[in-house]
Amino acid sequence: MALDKATVARIAALARIKVPEAELGALAADLSKILTWVEQLNAIDVSGVEPMTAVAHAKPPLREDKVTDGGIRDKILANVPETAGGFFVVPKVVE
């Protein structure tokens, strides 16, 4: 699959990554090359094969549904880029 610059810009917007206009062309070429390479899987017949969604060599145990952690607001906020009054601060989202 060859991706054009517009498609790369759309994926980048979905991934919330700003890509400078000047880099879109080279990135489109890189991504196209990788996608074309992985398309070798098209040669494989997978009809009737279940997808492997996880490695499950051992059955995960059940645990009680109870609170085991909490009350650590200051620890959670210790690495916050911008905080005020015990809250995360983000740009205004409601007009």
Binding site: I11, F88, V90
Partner: protein
């Protein structure tokens, strides 16, 4: 002999005989860590913390109440969260992040008496095979080609770990392996690297890359040390539902046991076109060594092998794009301002991620996006089923599998940079093991024509690290690998 040249097993025994103290050992390693700075293996050095832990080890050793790893100085891959010590995953986006908690695997090590020397470099978010994509610059391999002083890569992504252990600036290191990130750098640096069965070690507190593939493991000077480290690192953890509730055996007991009668599978699909002759020759030597030790070999077919890399490069980026969504400039790490919330996200992630991480997040986003999910992601998951099935079938006729670890020796810093796919091919022999969730170990087995270490890989059945280690120890004995790198920091 320098203290830094001893293995964990030797160190443990001599500390208990009080031939030297944990403090003396820690000081020797702190000096070596400083001497090794030109390699850029350590990102953060924590000598005070090491000395404080050594004092506690000495107190226990004095009372003959030593813990299994008392005094063992360990380098921690900077993907493990360490309480109070900066953890960046080699990324600008986590610059300055100081975790308020400790990963389960490192906590297990400290509980067993090991001490932390510092945090070591890696490819950004563990995405790479050369430790060249870190925001903190590349790490060098202490080995050099004969008659050529150009710096070489240590492999990756656990390249800081491998380099630190090889140069004797750490007695052991933690690594993580998503597609070969423990075994390939171990091969490039002439050390042992063990990726355990998926679920053997807890992933809690390890910065996530691809959650269905990531697994922590030890990187050490020899096979016995890998067994000792794994016992301390492993075990079920209620905080990671994918960590397996199975007993942790005394892996060290497997080292030195006979392999008489074991059946060793030799996968015919691993004989690649264009593979260097010396890799093929090394593989044949490995087969001969195991046969001489009483094992029998059987040719097996892992017929989906040619498709493993392509499968991996859909699944791993897909999981990464999801895992890395958490870096949003709101809760931790870098924040680059923007007018709106979306602009802030885009600016932060645009400036915070390096080129390879950006590439993989975009590939992952694409293969998961509406209209392409079935063609790429679902298809890859189905091929993954077939790859795992190949191993299931093979293990009906063999007890362990022998392969080369990597298709080449270490290459120069700067090589393979222009072509992501050429870089991805480094992991051709290791990736299938992650896709199937099996244990694999790389053992240094010989030198290339230009004097660089080459590893052989042993792959085991799920949760059968013991047979894996047993076979690895026989290879190690037969190979008698005693070459040392051009530069040893602990030689004084």
């Amino acid at each position: 002999m320098s203290l830094n040249a001893l293995t964990i097993a030797e160190t443990r025994d001599r500390l208990r005989r009080k031939e030297f103290t944990a403090r003396e050992l820690a000081e020797a390693y702190i000096r070596a860590m400083e001497a090794a700075r030109p390699l850029n293996a350590y990102l953060v050095e924590t000598p005070e913390r090491a000395l404080a832990a050594a004092a506690q080890s000495d107190a226990r050793l004095q009372k003959d109440e030593a813990l299994p790893l008392d005094g063992v100085p360990v380098a921690v891959k900077d993907l493990f969260c360490t309480e109070g010590v900066e953890t960046t995953a080699g990324s600008r986006i986590l610059g300055g992040f100081v975790p308020p908690y400790e990963s389960t695997v490192t906590a297990n090590l400290w509980r067993n008496g090991a001490l932390m020397l510092g945090k070591v470099n890696l490819d950004e978010f563990a995405m790479g095979s050369a430790t060249i994509t870190s925001a903190r610059g590349p790490t060098e391999n202490p080995w050099r080609r004969k008659g050529d002083n150009r710096p070489l890569v240590p492999g990756g992504s656990s390249g800081g770990s491998a380099s630190a252990v090889a140069v004797h600036a750490a007695l052991a290191a933690t690594g993580t392996d998503t597609g070969g990130s423990i075994r390939q750098p171990a091969s490039f640096c002439g050390i042992v690297g063990l990726k355990p069965t998926y679920g053997r070690c807890s992933r809690w507190g390890i910065v996530a890359f691809a959650s269905s593939l990531d697994q922590a493991g030890p990187m050490t000077r020899d096979v016995r040390d890998a067994a000792i480290m794994l016992k301390a690192m492993a075990g079920h953890d209620p905080k990671d539902s994918t960590s397996a509730p199975v007993p942790v055996p005394d892996f060290e007991k497997a080292v030195g046991q006979s392999i008489k009668g074991l059946r060793i599978g030799i996968p015919k699909e691993y004989r690649l076109d264009g593979m260097p002759k010396e890799i093929d020759a090394l593989w044949q030597r490995g087969i001969d060594w195991l046969t001489a030790a009483g094992a029998t070999t059987v040719v097996i077919s892992l017929k989906m092998t040619p498709y493993a890399l392509a499968t991996y490069y859909i699944i791993a980026p897909a999981e990464a794009s999801s895992n890395l969504a958490r870096y949003d400039g709101v809760r931790f790490g870098l924040r680059v301002p923007g007018e709106t919330l979306d602009e802030m996200y885009e600016n932060t992630r645009g400036q915070g991620f390096g080129a390879e991480v950006r590439r993989r997040v975009l590939i992952g986003t694409y293969v998961l996006s509406a209209g392409y999910y079935d063609a790429y992601y679902l298809k890859a998951q189905k091929v993954r089923t077939l790859i795992a099935r190949d191993f299931d079938e093979a293990f009906k006729t063999c007890d362990a599998i022998l392969t080369p670890t990597a298709p080449s020796a270490a290459f120069a810093i700067g090589d393979k940079m222009d072509d992501p796919i050429a870089m991805y091919l480094n992991d051709v022999f290791t990736v299938p093991v992650n896709l199937a969730g099996l244990p694999g170990i790389s053992v240094p087995a010989g030198l290339s024509a230009d004097g660089l270490p080459l590893g052989l890989q042993v792959i085991g059945k799920a949760f059968d690290e013991e047979t894996t280690l047993r076979v690895a120890a026989v290879l190690e004995d037969a190979a008698g690998f005693e070459a040392v790198p051009a530069f040893l920091a602990g030689a004084a």
